[in-house]
């Protein structure tokens, strides 16, 4: 029970609070760049939690997973996003269809709901409440971002947040899935992002904007 041990304890018990902080900030963020930064921060926290879990549970392969998370979600993806924004040189705000205040309230409601959900379902899974609630609220926030932000990039980001939530849930409930599967999932995420990048280029080429809410030629 050294210093590291205490650190892991702390991380596992209280880091989820920071997650709530990130999503609240995401709700108010007006710039794509800042949202990306927040996402990176969020991923970093998750990575920390992964490592902590690995240390606590003595599961070597989870270290690898943690490393993957760090490399991909904290380093690679945000860089890719910055690249994209530079290349697309679009206006850089997120084009929210809800005012920041509304967003904050909604996210707060989400957090409350996820706690409620955890309390009602919690009996099933014997895990600390906060992280699970954090996971669920990440999922819901991701969904909320996708629905309320009109920029293609922000939809991608929302998807990633949602992804984070699922990943976190998996981690804290089952200490992650078998390694191969995890790797496959990461691969999928990367490919998906790559494709979405291609499509954002195509959208900006063909429509001269990135506002997905304006893509309404196909209906009925």
């Amino acid at each position: 029970m050294g210093l590291v041990g205490i650190a892991t304890e702390k991380i596992l018990s209280s880091f989820s609070v920071f997650l709530f902080l990130t999503i609240l900030l995401l709700a108010v963020a007006r710039r794509i760049s800042s949202s990306v930064l927040l996402f990176g921060l969020q991923s970093a926290i998750i990575a920390a939690e992964v490592l902590a879990t690995a240390f606590q549970e003595k599961l070597p392969e989870i270290y690898i997973v943690g490393a993957l998370v760090f490399v991909i979600k904290v380093v690679a993806i945000p860089r890719a996003f910055f690249l994209l924004t530079k290349r697309l040189k679009t206006v850089r705000d997120v084009k929210a269809s809800t005012t920041p205040t509304q967003s904050v309230f909604i996210v707060a409601a989400i957090i409350y709901l996820s706690y409620a959900a955890v309390h009602s379902y919690g009996g099933a899974v014997h895990v600390p409440d906060d992280p699970l609630a954090a996971a669920i609220s990440l999922i819901l926030t991701g969904a909320f971002l996708m629905v309320s932000r009109k920029k293609a990039l922000m939809q991608m980001l929302g998807l990633l947040v949602l992804e984070n939530g699922i990943f976190l849930a998996a981690l804290i409930t089952t200490f992650g899935m078998p390694l191969v599967i995890e790797i496959g999932i990461f691969f999928d995420i990367l490919m998906g992002l790559l494709l979405m990048g291609i499509f954002t280029f195509r959208i900006s080429d063909t429509f001269e904007h990135l506002d997905v809410s304006k893509l309404r030629r196909l209906r009925g």
Binding site: A152, P178, V180, G184, L195, L215, G220
Partner: protein, 484 residues
């Protein structure tokens, strides 16, 4: 070893094709590879049929159910590639829009779908389902037009989100399994899950939760209402062969995944819960899609909605369960894929010759395109479920199961929707087929490749309506046996 082959061929084939810049050569190679692939798949199916299921490591397995779907994939993809070889006379511009990319992506697409059918591990299954989306997204956006890009984006985002929920569902199931004391290494393996199903039920609520997420997730890919929104766009904007692949193979693969989960859940918490959900989604899809068919203006969107409706029918068959229900559902997946690809092929010809897919601008093609009309007619009669075509058989089976279980609400809606859909198709087709054509296209004759593809499909539809071959019947029974 045999199981690796059908996965390896498409991957390397895709890489190989990318090396050929000459469209003709690429086409030839693609057809060659397709032939080999089909042969291999055929042997796989035959092996499964004769020696029971095949294994490959911990992650690949092919049992009766896989064999049945593999057969469907083989047949349809063969038809599609033959048709496509003649279809790709003109392609969109931009990167990824040349014939070689087309074929390469198609082979990747096939790879993902095949591996969906042969993956023994639910995690792998999920990865590959996501893979299908990724592989086909570029194909949907192949033409690079406004519509194509828009459809592609919607397809990518909506399906990825849906699939994400499926992942969550998988995790929850995994959690339930692990908590039930299964070894985490094998807690995602379908067979061991089936064997341990009763044990998993020690927390039934968790299992149900898992199924809810899975049905929403994979339901998005299947095109259940209200998660169907991507489907009409993608089908309408993709190149015709791809529309055929999407609606005839991809939807079936998603349905296959759902079947796997349904089997586990039914065995662990009893069939009541999952079947109710399946019935709800099935009926909802049937009703909404059936009504929307009435008011379509674009031929391919019409087909897309009819695909949704038929997925609804299949879901109803699954939800009813019972020997006839499963029989009907599985048979319907096959019949529908053949008939629907036939319809898409004819739609493609019509677009070639009339230059549009807007049904109110098409007239009198029975005079200008007799052969295409014949194909369209056969496909149409089959798709609305009239004898002597194959879909009549499967719908007959599903209906009799529904009546036998005295589910009167379901059957009333079912019959009503059949009539509505019939009305819709009859209305649209009469307007297109009859009347005086405004202008005569230059080449109304089918080119050989189209002729082969459409002819085979039409024969298949008719033949399976008259009788079910013995071997086919056996395969079907084996598939059903896997699920029960």
């Amino acid at each position: 070893m045999l199981l690796l082959l059908p996965l390896a061929i498409p991957v390397f084939g895709a890489g190989l094709i990318l090396l050929f810049h000459n469209p003709r050569a690429a086409t030839r190679l693609a057809l060659l590879l397709a032939g080999v692939e089909i042969a291999v798949l055929g042997t796989v199916v035959w092996q499964v049929h004769t020696h029971g299921e095949l294994h490959q490591g911990r992650y690949l397995r092919a049992d009766g159910l896989s064999a049945f779907f593999l057969m469907g994939i083989a047949i349809v993809s063969g038809l599609v590639l033959v048709y496509a070889s003649g279809y790709l006379r003109h392609t969109g511009e931009g990167r990824f829009s040349s014939p070689r990319w087309f074929y390469a992506l198609v082979f990747l697409f096939l790879f993902t779908m095949i591996s969906v059918c042969v993956s023994a591990n639910l995690g792998l299954l999920w990865i590959m389902m996501e893979g299908t989306t990724l592989a086909s997204a570029l194909l949907v956006g192949f033409y690079n037009t406004e519509g194509a890009v828009e459809a592609g984006w919607k397809y990518l985002i909506v399906c990825t989100v849906g699939i994400a929920f499926a992942l969550f569902g998988t995790i929850v199931l995994y959690l339930a399994a692990v908590k039930a004391g299964m070894n985490p290494a094998s807690a995602l393996d379908w067979v061991s899950l089936m064997n341990a199903a009763p044990r998993i039920a020690l927390d039934p609520h968790l299992v149900k939760l898992a199924f809810v997420f899975v049905i929403v997730g994979y339901g998005t890919k299947i095109g259940f209402v209200p998660m169907h929104s991507w489907l009409p766009d993608a089908h309408a904007e993709a190149p015709t062969p791809i529309s055929a692949l999407l609606s005839a193979v991809l939807l079936n693969c998603a349905m296959y995944a759902l079947m796997r989960y349904d089997a586990i859940v039914s065995r662990s918490v009893g069939p009541a819960f999952p079947h109710v959900l399946l019935l709800i989604f099935g009926v909802m899809s049937m009703v909404v899609a059936g009504l929307l068919i009435l008011v379509q203006r674009n031929l391919k969107r019409l087909m897309a909605y009819s695909s949704i409706e038929h997925m609804g029918i299949i879901a109803i068959g699954l939800g009813l369960g019972g020997p006839l229900g499963l029989f009907g559902a599985l048979l319907h997946t096959f019949n529908h894929s053949i008939a629907k690809s036939l319809l898409f092929f004819s739609a493609g010809n019509i677009r070639h010759n009339t230059g549009t897919l807007r049904m109110d601008e098409i007239q009198g093609i029975s005079r200008t395109l007799p052969q295409t009309t014949a194909a369209l007619l056969v496909g149409g009669l089959a798709i609305v479920g009239l004898p002597p075509f194959s879909l009549f058989i499967s719908e007959f089976a599903i209906l009799s199961e529904a009546f036998a279980q005295a589910r009167y609400l379901v059957v009333i809606l079912f019959l009503a929707m059949l009539s509505v859909v019939f009305g819709g198709f009859a209305f649209h087709f009469f307007r297109m087929l009859c009347g005086e054509p405004d202008r005569r296209p230059e080449n109304s004759k089918l080119i050989p490749s189209e002729y082969i593809a459409m002819g085979m499909a039409a024969l298949c539809v008719l033949f399976f309506g008259v009788r079910i071959p013995h071997v086919f019947g056996r395969l079907l029974q084996e598939a059903i046996a896997v699920l029960q």
